[in-house]
Amino acid sequence: MTGRTEVLRRIRLALSNSAGSEPGPGENGGSTAGAARADSYRLHGDVTGAALLDLLASRLTDYRALVRRATAATLADEISAALARRGVRTVVVPPGLNVPLPTFAAVTVDDGQSAADLDAFDVVVTAAAVAIAETGTIVLDGAPDQGRRAISLVPDYHLCIVTSGQVVHLVPEAIQRLADSAGRPLTWISGPSATSDIELERVEGVHGPRTLEVILVT
C-alpha cells in the first residue's frame, strides 16, 4: 500500500467517527472565508486618501524602513537623493522597471545573474504590487517591474517605489487584489530583515536586505 493510500484511508476512518456537519469544498459558495463571514471581521478599510498614505508611512517607519514621499515630477530627484545618500555605485533592476535612475550609478538589468553576482550590487530598485497601510507591508508579485525573487533578496539595500493607487488599508483587501497573482511567487515585506531570537528583542539586520527604503509616489 502506498503512503498516499494509507494516509487517506486513516483520515477517512478517523472522520467516520464524527458526524460531518461542516460544509465541504464548493459548498457555501466554495469560500471558507465566506462561511466564516458570520464572524464579520473587517473586509474593507475605512481610511482613504492622504490619511491612508500617512498611515502606511508611519507603520513602515515604525518597523525601521526609510520612507520618502514624491510626485511624478519629483520622483527622479528623490531616487537620486536616496541612492546618493547611501553612496550607491552599482544598481540592479528588473527588466520591466520604468523609473528614472541617476546617471552617477551603473545600472544593470537583471538577466539571470548568479546569487554571487547579485551579492556585489549596492542596491536593487523595484516597483511593488500592493502595499498594506495597517501593517506597513509591501507585496512583490514577480511582475516585470519587480523581477524574480532573488534580485530583491541578495543586495543589502532595497529601494521600492510604491504608487498611491497600490495602497490598501487592510490585509483582506490586499489578499483580494492579489487573487489573480496567487499562482506567482509572492514576497511580503514589512521592514528590513529582523530577528527576535535573542531574548525576544527585535534586532534589525540579519540575512535579508538590511536597508529597506520606500518612495511613496502620489
Binding site: N17, G24, A33, L200, G208
Partner: protein, 488 residues
C-alpha cells in the same frame, strides 16, 4: 463528555515527541536552574507586552479568532478532500507531492531526494515538522550535512542543544551564553565578539552568507498550504527563509497534513492572527508564497512531503482533534505560568507548553506522554491567548479522563486504594480517633510548619505540594478539654 478510548484508526507517531521522564521530575530539575528561570521570565514577559499591544490595535480581533477557528474546524472535517485538492494543484504547477505515514518514511523520502539532487549538504528554514521527525540526524546518518539557518535554530545546533520553544527554540539562552557558543563553535568568528544582539546577528549573517549563495538544496516546513491554489506559505523574520526558498535549485518542504487551508481568501484571517500572536508584530518582516515551479524564478525542482506521524490518530478523537488547529504561534507558551517556570525541555517533546501538553500525547498515544495532560494548573490563560480559540484547558481535562480510563482497565490507582481505606476508617468513631492519633505523629515529619515529603504511598501528594502539619490536638480533644476548663 464523550470518552475516547484507544487508537482504532491509526498508529502513533515516532520521532522527537516523547518524554524520557515524567514532567514533574524534569520540571523539578528545571526549577532549580535560576539562570533558566531568569532568561525565560525576561523573554516571555517582554513578548506578552508586545502581543497585548498589537492585539489591542485591531477592533475585530475576536471576530478574526472566531473565523480562524471556523476555518480550521471545517478543514479537519474534510481533510481528505482538501489534501487531494492541494496535491492536484501542486502537481498541476510542476511540483511533486510525496506522502509519509510516519517520521521514518518522511526521512527516507527526503534523504532520497537530496541524494537524487547530488547534494551532500542542505540549508534549512526553521521547521517544527523536521525537528519532530529528527530529519537532521537521519540526513547525517546518510552523509548529508544539514545547516540550520534560523538564528535560534543555529544557536541550538551549534550548542548541541535541544529546542525549547516553538518560535524561539533558544529562548532558554541569554545573550552572554549565545556569544560564548558562537565564539566556541562557529570557527570563523572574531573572538572579540560582544554579546550585543546586533553584533550576534551580524556574526550569524557572515557565517551563513556563503552557505546561502552556494547551496543547491533547501529544506523548509510550511505555515500554510492553500488547497484551492496549491500555494505554500512560509512566515519568517530574518530572510534566511527567503534565501532557502529562493536560491537553491531544489526545494523540499515537509508539512504536517493539518497545515492545509481551503482557500486563498482564508489567508486574510491567518496572516492577521499569526504575526500578532507570535512575535507581537503587526506583520512579520518576510512572508514567502510559492506555487509549484515558476520558470526562471527560484527552485526548478519543488517537492512537498505530506506527513501523518500520529496526526490521523489525533483526528480520530472528535474532541482532541481541536489540537490540530494549532498554527504554531507560541502565544500559549508565553502566557503559561507553568512554561514560564519550567521552560520547554521539561515537556520532552518538540511541542512544549500548553499546546504541546495536548498535542504530544495525542500524536504518541496518551500512555507515552502520560504526565503531560497534568502539566498545567488549568488557569485558562492559554485559551484566552490562542488565536484560533483552541480550548486547551478542556482538552487537558479530556486527555486526563482518557488517561484515567485507560489506566482503570489495568491496575487500581494509589488514589483509589487510599479512598477505599479512608472510607473504612471513617465508618467507625473508634477507628477515626485512632487514625487521628496516628496522624499527629506526622508532626515529627514537619519542618517550618509544613511537610514537604510524606512516606510512600502518600509521597505522590507531596511530590508537587506541601502537606499541612497536623495540629497538636484534634478538634474533639480541644472540645473535650474546653468543656472541662469551663467546668460546665
Amino acid at each position: 463528555m464523550s470518552t475516547f478510548l484507544g487508537l482504532p484508526t491509526a498508529p502513533a507517531g515516532v520521532g522527537h515527541l516523547r518524554q524520557t521522564e515524567p514532567f514533574p521530575r524534569a520540571a523539578r530539575r528545571a526549577l532549580a536552574d535560576t539562570q533558566l528561570r531568569r532568561n525565560l521570565g525576561k523573554a516571555t514577559g517582554h513578548i506578552r507586552a508586545k502581543r497585548a499591544a498589537v492585539v489591542a490595535e485591531l477592533p475585530d480581533w475576536e471576530e478574526l479568532r472566531a473565523a480562524g477557528q471556523a476555518i480550521k474546524a471545517r478543514t479537519m472535517a474534510h481533510l481528505d478532500l482538501y489534501l487531494d485538492q492541494l496535491e492536484a494543484a501542486v502537481q498541476a504547477r510542476g511540483g511533486t507531492v510525496h506522502w509519509a505515514r510516519d517520521a521514518t518514511e518522511a526521512n527516507a523520502i527526503v534523504t532520497r531526494l537530496v541524494h537524487h539532487a547530488g547534494a551532500d549538504e542542505v540549508v534549512k528554514v526553521k521547521s517544527l515538522a523536521t525537528d519532530e521527525i529528527g530529519l537532521n540526524d537521519a540526513l547525517a546518518a546518510a552523509g548529508i550535512a544539514a545547516y540550520e539557518t534560523d538564528l535560534a535554530e543555529l544557536i541550538v545546533q551549534l550548542g548541541h542543544d535541544r529546542p525549547s520553544h516553538i518560535l524561539v527554540p533558544a529562548i532558554h539562552r541569554n545573550r552572554a551564553e549565545i556569544r560564548d557558543i558562537f565564539v566556541r563553535e562557529m570557527g570563523d568568528v572574531d573572538p572579540a565578539l560582544t554579546d550585543d544582539p546586533a553584533a550576534l546577528a551580524e556574526a550569524a549573517r557572515r557565517h551563513l552568507r556563503r552557505k546561502f549563495l552556494s547551496a543547491t538544496v533547501g529544506i523548509s516546513g510550511a505555515n500554510f498550504a492553500i488547497a484551492e491554489t496549491g500555494t505554500l506559505c512560509v512566515v519568517e523574520s530574518e530572510g534566511n527563509g527567503r534565501m532557502c526558498l529562493t536560491l537553491p535549485e531544489t526545494l523540499i518542504t515537509v508539512m504536517g497534513i493539518e497545515k492545509v487551508i481551503p482557500t486563498w481568501a482564508d489567508l486574510s484571517v491567518f496572516l492577521q492572527l499569526l504575526p500578532r500572536s507570535s512575535t507581537g508584530e503587526r506583520m512579520n518582516p518576510y512572508t514567502s508564497m510559492w506555487t509549484g515551479v515558476t520558470p526562471g524564478d527560484g527552485p526548478q525542482a519543488v517537492h512537498l512531503v505530506l506527513l501523518d506521524n500520529g496526526r490521523t490518530a489525533a483526528l480520530a478523537d472528535p474532541v482532541g482533534r481541536e489540537a490540530l488547529h494549532c498554527i504554531r504561534c507560541s502565544a500559549c507558551l508565553n502566557v503559561c505560568p507553568v512554561y514560564e517556570r519550567t521552560g520547554g525541555h521539561a515537556y520532552g517533546s518538540v511541542y512544549p507548553g500548553p499546546i504541546g501538553a495536548v498535542l504530544s500525547p495525542q500524536l504518541t498515544g496518551v500512555e507515552d506522554n502520560a504526565s503531560l495532560p497534568y502539566a498545567s494548573s488549568l488557569c485558562g490563560a492559554c485559551y484566552e491567548a490562542c488565536p484560533v480559540k483552541i480550548d486547551i484547558p478542556s482538552l487537558l481535562v479530556h486527555l486526563r479522563a482518557r488517561h484515567v480510563e485507560e489506566r482503570r482497565r489495568l491496575v487500581p490507582s494509589a488514589e483509589a486504594v487510599t479512598m477505599a481505606a479512608a472510607s473504612w476508617v471513617m465508618a467507625s468513631p473508634g477507628r477515626f480517633a485512632a487514625a487521628q492519633a496516628t496522624g499527629r505523629a506526622g508532626r515529627l515529619l514537619s519542618r517550618r510548619g509544613a511537610i514537604s515529603r510524606l512516606p510512600p504511598p502518600l509521597a505522590a501528594w507531596t511530590g508537587a505540594r506541601d502537606a499541612p502539619v497536623p495540629p497538636a490536638q484534634t478538634f474533639r480533644q480541644w472540645w473535650a478539654s474546653r468543656e472541662k476548663g469551663n467546668g460546665a
